[in-house]
Assembly symmetry: C2
Homo-oligomer: 309 residues x 2
């Protein structure tokens, strides 16, 4: 009898829940609206409904537990979401225990980017290493750091906020209060803002910009060069700080890899002697699990029985 | 009968060796020339002579071991110094085993800034926490990172190279190949270079500049403001990445704290929401052990019996 865990990836708009085998295979995947605008109880119910549907089908006795990736900050020892930019109603919200009561099973919370990093470490582009840094390139830039095989949380679960390190001391303003944050120079939002400067009469999405770059449009390529420079500065700093073997990139902007990666790698090499010195022993690489990374990582928390620290 | 360890701090010009009690007290401190220009054997002999002198006085039977802080990169598992900017003859130099043979006692090598961070964690400004980041402000800027009470080394012993993270994407050129490295904006060398721009007819040292700033000289204060900005950018990034409770500053430039700290703290607060959010639970503070930090940290490696990983 095969055991499984349920991984949940809670997004601002949609949530996904998956039954994941002990070997890390996604057995079944469900999709549902998050219902964030209807309040925290509605979100809990939406999650519980998806979890119960998977559990009824795959068996209660074989369920090892539930891991939930959340777009916010978590006090790990309390299972408390202190804040979530994408789910503004979740302030000091004790999701872990409430959800656990609803579904009558153990629940582990984890930051969504941390869960994705753990998924890539277990089954993806970091499966051969014990230490890695993951950057997720989406609406913003998220981060996850795996050290000695474990997620680095920091004292208030606010570690790995890599999207908000400064890459340009006098750069673009960020809602966080800083200027020149990585995510204001290297996210889909940043790409679209740069596109608006070069193509003022069009409303180009990051995807449109990628299509233009595929066709060799020089202005679109300029934008991806700037993105690559910003990522290179950040990854160089991470390399000087951590000296780990793998720096992974994931998220919705990843398909534009051919356009931003050359400058990113060039800039990281130029700016980090650690990166240069370690040669093939360290590298920057695309993540491999796509949208499944967070689900697999969240499930792994239950499968491994890892207690959050 | 009290046990003790010997901590050695190997500098480019001078070496210091201390007998350190199990409680972290420096019992006796010796000073000697490093003799780096006379080659690696001469350096080994200078270290061995100091170690033997301390051991003969304080007793062979009570000696727990020897820790050596080295200004370079170390392959911890091999006890090999791969490179040392301040001791250029030490390339792939197996110091640990050679010194151990010479003094007939176990030796542990550690990077000097890492040893200082560990010393501050054990007996200094980080004794109440388990995680911290230390920056040493001297000729360059060094770094040491303590996570879960242990030094973070990275895969090739090249972690915590905080002096070479970019704080100004188009900043001053650095010998490492990058531009805008923290240490080119916040070390004694950087202070002296900035002073040369503002006081072209004088050859001011960092200490001279501090004296001028003490007297309220506006140009000198400008220089320390720039240093504070650079440190603030770096510490903000470290705070977003690690979310640890303590960021410590040490080194020869520390006496200028009153001049650079206000801008440093202001800039770190502005640029890091982690730092702001965690309030009193995290802070930037001066290190407390001065020049003894590295000696005490190196001795602790022997006292704690910690195996390098």
């Amino acid at each position: 009898m095969q055991h499984y865990a349920i991984g949940v990836d809670l997004g601002g708009t949609n949530l996904r829940a998956a039954a994941v085998s002990e070997e890390g295979e996604v057995i079944e995947l469900l999709d549902a609206p998050t219902n964030g605008q209807r309040g925290n109880d509605a979100v809990l119910e939406a999650m519980a409904a998806a979890i119960k549907q998977l559990r009824d089908k795959h068996g209660r006795a074989r369920l090892l537990g539930i891991g939930v990736g959340v777009p916010g900050f978590i006090l790990m020892d309390q299972g408390l979401i202190t804040d979530s930019p994408n789910l503004p109603s979740m302030k000091n919200f004790p999701m872990r225990d409430l959800l656990s009561d609803l579904v009558d099973a153990p629940v582990i919370l984890e930051n969504d980017a941390n869960a994705a990093a753990l998924g890539e470490k277990w089954k993806g582009a970091g499966r051969d290493v014990n230490d890695l840094v993951l950057l997720t390139l989406g609406t913003g830039v998220g981060g996850g750091i795996i050290l000695n095989g474990k997620i680095w949380h920091g004292m208030k679960g606010m570690g790995a906020e890599i999207g908000h390190i400064t890459v340009n001391a006098a750069g673009n303003p960020c809602g966080c209060g800083n200027v020149g944050c990585l995510e204001k120079h290297a996210s889909a939002t940043a790409l679209e803002a740069m596109a608006a400067m070069l193509f003022p009469d069009q409303h180009l999405t990051a995807k449109d910009l990628n299509t233009l770059a595929d066709r060799g449009d020089e202005k679109a390529l300029m934008v991806f060069d700037r993105m690559g420079d910003a990522l290179g500065i950040a990854i160089a700093a991470l390399s000087q700080i951590f000296n780990v073997p793998r720096y992974l990139l994931a998220g919705g902007v990843l398909p534009a890899w051919p356009h931003f990666a050359p400058r990113m790698i060039q800039e990281a090499r130029r700016r980090s002697f650690n990166f240069r010195y370690c040669g093939d022993a360290n590298r920057i690489a695309p993540a491999e699990l796509g949208g499944h990374a967070g689900l697999i990582g969240a499930a792994y928390l239950a499968i491994s029985g890892a207690k959050p620290v």
